[in-house]
């Protein structure tokens, strides 16, 4: 089974080298999508032996993820694992996500930080709000709506449509899982909150931006 990690990255030269190094051995291949980075992200990724797709201009994490998934599928991936470039995820937990998918028990495995880690208070409040919103809009009872660590079967990855270019893609993926009635499972995963990742994290502004993006998305359909 070919397991490919898809890592969307935008100006992550500080962490991408370490992250790619740590992924070694846990997946068959790594596809890094350099989303128009102005720094050495792409170069470092290439040096580390990853397959690199470069967006000439920055399009957003959702867009980068979709590009990576398309590339991975084209290269024959059987299981696709989405993984963050900022060091928040643990490669050791990948097996816990691919397990259910490989076994055929699930078509999608979603990482959940609430089932395991301690979450900073401010972040917790926002995420709980997002949770309620997601339950209402997609009907899915997930405990972590915006976790970049997921695993999909090849078929599921092919079917899921990602049209949201920005952070709203996470909500869109859940909506797609619901729409396609995919069998999914939540898996407890660790989220390492570091100084670096907290700086880059999404705040209250993102929450409203995501709502607005989802609204616009519904208009265009």
């Amino acid at each position: 089974m070919k397991v490919t990690a898809v890592v969307p990255a935008y100006n992550e030269e500080e962490t991408i080298g370490r992250v790619l190094g740590s992924l070694h051995g846990y997946v068959s291949e790594v596809v890094v999508v350099d989303d128009g980075s102005a720094d050495a992200t792409g170069m470092i990724a290439r040096e580390k032996g990853a397959i690199v797709c470069r967006h000439v201009i920055n399009r957003g994490q959702g867009a980068a993820l979709k590009t990576g998934i398309d590339c991975a599928l084209e290269r024959g991936a059987d299981i696709i694992v989405t993984f963050d470039a900022d060091g928040q995820h643990c490669p050791e937990e990948i097996a816990e996500l691919t397990g259910p998918v490989e076994g055929g028990r699930a078509e999608a495995a979603l990482g959940s930080r609430f089932m395991k880690s301690e979450v900073p208070f401010a972040r917790k409040f926002l995420l709980k709000a997002a949770l309620v919103f997601t339950r209402v809009t997609s009907g899915l009872k997930v405990t972590d709506t915006h976790n970049g660590l997921r695993a999909f079967s090849r078929e599921a990855a092919k079917k899921i449509r990602i049209t949201q270019d920005g952070f709203a893609h996470a909500s869109e993926i859940l909506n797609e899982i619901s729409r396609l009635k995919l069998r999914y499972e939540e898996v407890p995963t660790t989220l390492r909150y570091t100084e670096y990742s907290r700086k880059k994290g999404q705040g209250i502004g993102s929450f409203f931006r995501i709502l607005f993006d989802l609204f616009k998305g519904a208009l265009v359909k």
Binding site: V33, I51, V52, C53, R54, H55, V56, I57, R59, G60, A63, K66, T67, D70, C71, E74, T163, D165, K216, G217, L219, V220
Partner: protein, 111 residues
């Protein structure tokens, strides 16, 4: 009133440009008729403001000027909505192009 002169002058100017564009075939017949009608109505309202009062009465609105405001606001909301949708579509198209380039370049770079 001065405003009447301004509006009629501007409307005439706009109509002239319309005729020009239509003759040069840059403007389609449907669009030409629409905009001609719009400017004509604007000029008529400017010259005889009472027309709006009549319409306002028919629709149950206070004054003609109020009616013009309501209609304008609704029209603006609609225009903004259309623009939003248009922009969203353009963003998605841009991403499709950028994605295609990214994947093609990656394929090409395989030795």
């Amino acid at each position: 009133m001065l405003i009447q002169i301004f509006i009629v002058a501007f409307a005439s100017f706009a109509v002239l440009r319309l005729i020009f564009k239509f003759r040069k075939k840059v403007l389609r017949a449907g669009e030409f008729v629409f905009w001609m009608a719009l400017w004509t109505v604007a000029a008529v309202i400017a010259i005889i403001p009472e027309t709006t009062n009549y319409l306002a009465g028919v629709l149950g609105v206070g004054r003609g000027a109020d009616l013009v405001m309501y209609v304008s606001i609704i029209a603006l909301f609609y225009a903004v909505f259309r623009i939003f949708v248009r922009i969203e579509k353009m963003e998605r198209d841009m991403t499709k192009v950028v994605r295609r380039m990214a994947i093609e370049e990656q394929k090409e770079s395989r030795e």
